[in-house]
């Protein structure tokens, strides 16, 4: 349970294990999660040396306590006071939004790329375009674009989370299966897997995770939102997204893939016992595998996502950045820490002991690669694959209702499992509802009509 809980704070890894998600979500609902987490963080040293500027920070990133501790020990000018929140949608965003409304937000807040535009609509973040302009060339463009939705910089990127394919190399090799390089081959592979072992499936398409489907649609190069002047273009039912939806609907209908969640106990058991031969995940999923099925060392390998028609493209699922509160009295000190967190080579070194960090700050990639203790994965070195995957991340803009949209998607996908709806119907309905609700809240919306 403890271990599962810790995993929840990993950036983007919202739903890695069921026990953790359950605990966090529920604890967040009860308001207990934050208290518990707060009391835990209380263990970290809280005494600032005299004269240091105190910066308050809220985050749910796994290991943030260690980064903060290292930073506080490394200098005497700035002291960061960390408060650990329940992970993202399990309560973290709600707590931050409430604090912004109540005008008592901490100096630094946690914003995943997917949540940034929605947090921006609270008006609670400080524009940091000038302060960070010198860093621009060093960041992975996928991350840098994500913190600059409207051309102004609103947060300092921390990591990137391109999607990749993890697969059971031992089983693939034993049965002479080739690694699928495009989605048509993926379908054939799924048929093969079922033929070899009728109880096994190639993968699961988690109907209960909107951010997963978003990552898949991202790969299809059909952004759900775009900023056109002073308006949002909303196109959740675009051609690429619909193609993705149709493809997965066919696989689900043909019983070639499962459609239950990732990270549940059932999923862990299936992964370990060879009833699931692959995982469509993000960079941080390597940590999930390591944690969920530690004894599977030497069975799994990682490769880039299968492509559509050979076009190298990838989406992201998650990824974290950190923003400064609009009402912070100590923005300079806050930025001092954020620069350190994002760019100091000490950080990936610390991270290597508990995760596979893929820093958004490109010069730190080499440190992460060197610090990584290999052995779990077979085949191509994981950081080679991740580097290639980051290069393939295509253009995408998250909208101002993205977090709420994930939950709407999950609700609309829910009847798909019984045949009560299809992914395509669900997507079309979500597009319609989304445009309506964005207009209802006063936003300027252009409807994408290319369905």
């Amino acid at each position: 349970m403890d271990e599962a809980r810790g995993g929840g704070h990993r950036s983007g890894e919202r739903r890695a294990t069921v026990s953790r998600r359950t605990l966090l979500r529920t604890a967040g609902a009860a308001g207990a999660g934050a208290m518990l987490a707060g009391s835990l963080s209380g263990c970290a040293s809280r005494e600032a040396s005299s004269g240091a500027t105190r910066v308050t920070m809220w985050s749910w990133l796994t290991g943030m306590d260690r980064y903060v501790e290292a930073f506080n020990a490394s200098q005497r000018e700035v002291f960061v006071d960390l408060n650990v929140l329940a992970g993202g949608l399990s309560g973290g965003y709600a707590q931050q939004t409430n604090a912004i409304r109540a005008h008592n937000a901490p100096d630094i807040m946690h914003v995943e790329y997917q949540g940034l535009p929605q947090v921006l609509t609270t008006g609670g973040l400080r524009e940091i375009t000038e302060d960070t302009s010198d860093l621009a060339p060093e960041y992975s463009s996928a991350a840098w674009r994500s913190v600059r939705p409207d051309g102004r910089t609103w947060a300092v990127p921390f990591d990137v989370a391109p999607m990749v394919l993890y697969y059971r190399k031992d089983l693939f090799d034993a049965h002479g299966l080739a690694v699928p390089s495009d989605w048509e081959q993926f379908r054939t592979t799924a048929e093969e897997v079922r033929r070899i072992d009728p109880a096994a499936r190639l993968t699961t398409f988690p109907l209960n995770d909107g951010s997963f489907f978003a990552g898949m649609a991202w790969q299809a190069r059909d952004p759900w939102w775009q900023i056109l002047g002073d308006s949002w273009k909303v196109d959740i039912g675009g051609a690429g997204t619909l193609r993705t939806a149709r493809y997965w609907q066919e696989l689900i209908d043909a019983d070639l893939v499962r459609s239950d969640g990732i990270g549940t106990q059932d999923w862990i058991a299936s992964m370990h016992e060879g009833r699931l031969w692959s995982l469509l995940g993000a960079a941080w999923s390597a940590g999930t595998l390591n944690k969920s099925i530690p004894r599977d060392s030497g069975r799994w390998a990682v490769t880039t996502l299968p492509t559509w028609d050979g076009v190298p493209s990838t989406g992201m699922q998650g990824g974290s950045a950190f923003a400064v509160s609009a009402e912070s009295d100590v923005p300079e000190a806050a930025l001092t820490f954020l620069r350190w967190l994002s760019t100091d080579p000490e950080v990936p070194g610390i991270a290597a002991s508990f995760t596979t960090l893929l820093p958004a700050y490109v010069p730190n990639r080499a440190v992460a690669r060197e610090s990584y203790r290999s052995g779990y994965f077979l085949g191509e070195p994981i950081y080679d694959v991740l580097d290639e995957a980051v290069r393939r991340v295509s253009d995408w803009t998250w909208g101002p209702t993205a977090l709420g949209l994930f939950s709407t998607l999950e609700n609309r996908f829910s009847p798909v499992v019984t045949g009560g709806s299809t992914l395509v119907e669900a997507i079309e309905r979500v597009q319609h509802d989304s445009v309506r609700s964005m207009r209802g809240s006063g936003l300027s919306v252009i409807e994408g009509g290319s369905t």
Binding site: T22, L23, R25, A29, T121, D260, Q265, L403, E410, P415
Partner: protein
């Protein structure tokens, strides 16, 4: 909400008593009365009345964005607009339907079960009464979240035993409602059983002896003597259970992680949670919770009125 409504029913009676006294006794005990009531009054004001008033206020406003929304929201008065949005939202209505169906099944099942067990333990033939009491009551001691997790694992295919023997998938679209009913019944039956059992212990023993002398068997005694004697308690249990059903939240929230069949708006309480903390629409959330509170209050009042009429 449950506390304030049940308190409301009682304070109605108290108000009548107080209404007679101010001219006579109040000045003498004024200081002490104020002092003694202050903690309660302050807590009531601070933790119940003020939040309810704030929710009412919030429910009349919405946050308007403009353009891209990055310049932040401005608050706009929409009168009953949020209420209109909520009652015409198919997701909300669907949640109301789920809860209604749940209540229709769970309330009689759980209260009936609790009553039967209480009568059995109270009957003369029962042995090891304390053991039975404890055994049935024990699930209530398990926190709701933990109970949800335990049942979630029991329902899970490949992990728990239930899906192998159940006629329908307990986490499927058709099985989820019975599954939630089962969790709530398991958890709350013991609690209500204790309340009913305690009431049964207060039935005068002479009355029961008289019934026996008149030739009533255990069945007849239970139905014709014991039940009417504890009717007020049964109604209290009914009110609490109905309110509890309306507020159904924890069990489905926990089961969300096990199955997609529980949507984020599966019950009105989940709808409120989703509106406020996922979608960030506080006005709509406030309107939905005010509606939920109103329905709870009205239903409680109706049940209490029926109860009062019956006892007369």
């Amino acid at each position: 909400m449950s506390r304030s409504t049940s308190g409301g029913a009682r304070s109605g009676r108290r108000a009548v008593v107080l209404g007679r006294t101010p001219a006579g006794r109040m000045p003498r005990f004024g200081g002490a009365a104020v002092l003694l009531c202050a903690p309660f009054a302050l807590l009531l004001l601070g933790t119940v009345l003020a939040p309810v008033a704030y929710a009412l206020y919030l429910s009349l406003f919405t946050e308007r964005l403009s353009g891209l929304g990055f310049s932040g929201p401005s608050r706009a008065f929409v009168a009953l607009g949020n209420y209109a949005d909520v009652v015409t939202d198919p997701d909300f209505l669907h949640g109301v339907g789920n809860v209604a169906l749940y209540a229709v099944v769970q309330v009689p099942l759980m209260l009936g079960g609790a009553l039967v067990v209480a009568l059995l333990i109270d009957s003369a033939v029962a042995r090891l009464k304390q053991v039975w009491l404890l055994a049935v009551f024990l699930p209530y001691a398990v926190p709701g979240v933990i109970a949800g997790l335990i049942w979630g694992y029991l329902y899970s295919p490949d992990i728990g035993p239930i899906s192998a023997v159940a006629p329908i998938d307990p986490l499927g679209a058709n099985g989820i409602l019975p599954s939630v009913v089962n969790i709530a019944t398991w958890q709350w039956m013991g609690y209500n059983m204790i309340i009913f059992y305690t009431a049964l212990r207060t039935v005068p023993r002479e009355l029961l002896e008289a019934a026996r002398v008149d030739g009533a068997g255990p069945m007849r005694t239970a139905l014709s003597v014991k039940l009417p004697s504890i009717r007020p308690t049964l109604f209290v249990g009914l009110v609490f259970t109905i309110i509890g059903a309306l507020q159904l939240f924890t069990e489905p929230l926990v089961l969300q992680s096990f199955t997609g069949a529980v949507t984020s708006t599966w019950t009105p309480s989940l709808y409120v949670y989703d509106s406020a903390f996922v979608a960030g629409d506080y006005g709509r959330a406030a309107a939905a919770s005010v509606l939920l509170g109103l329905v709870s209050a009205v239903l409680s009042a109706v049940v209490m009125r029926i109860s009062a009429r019956r006892s007369r």
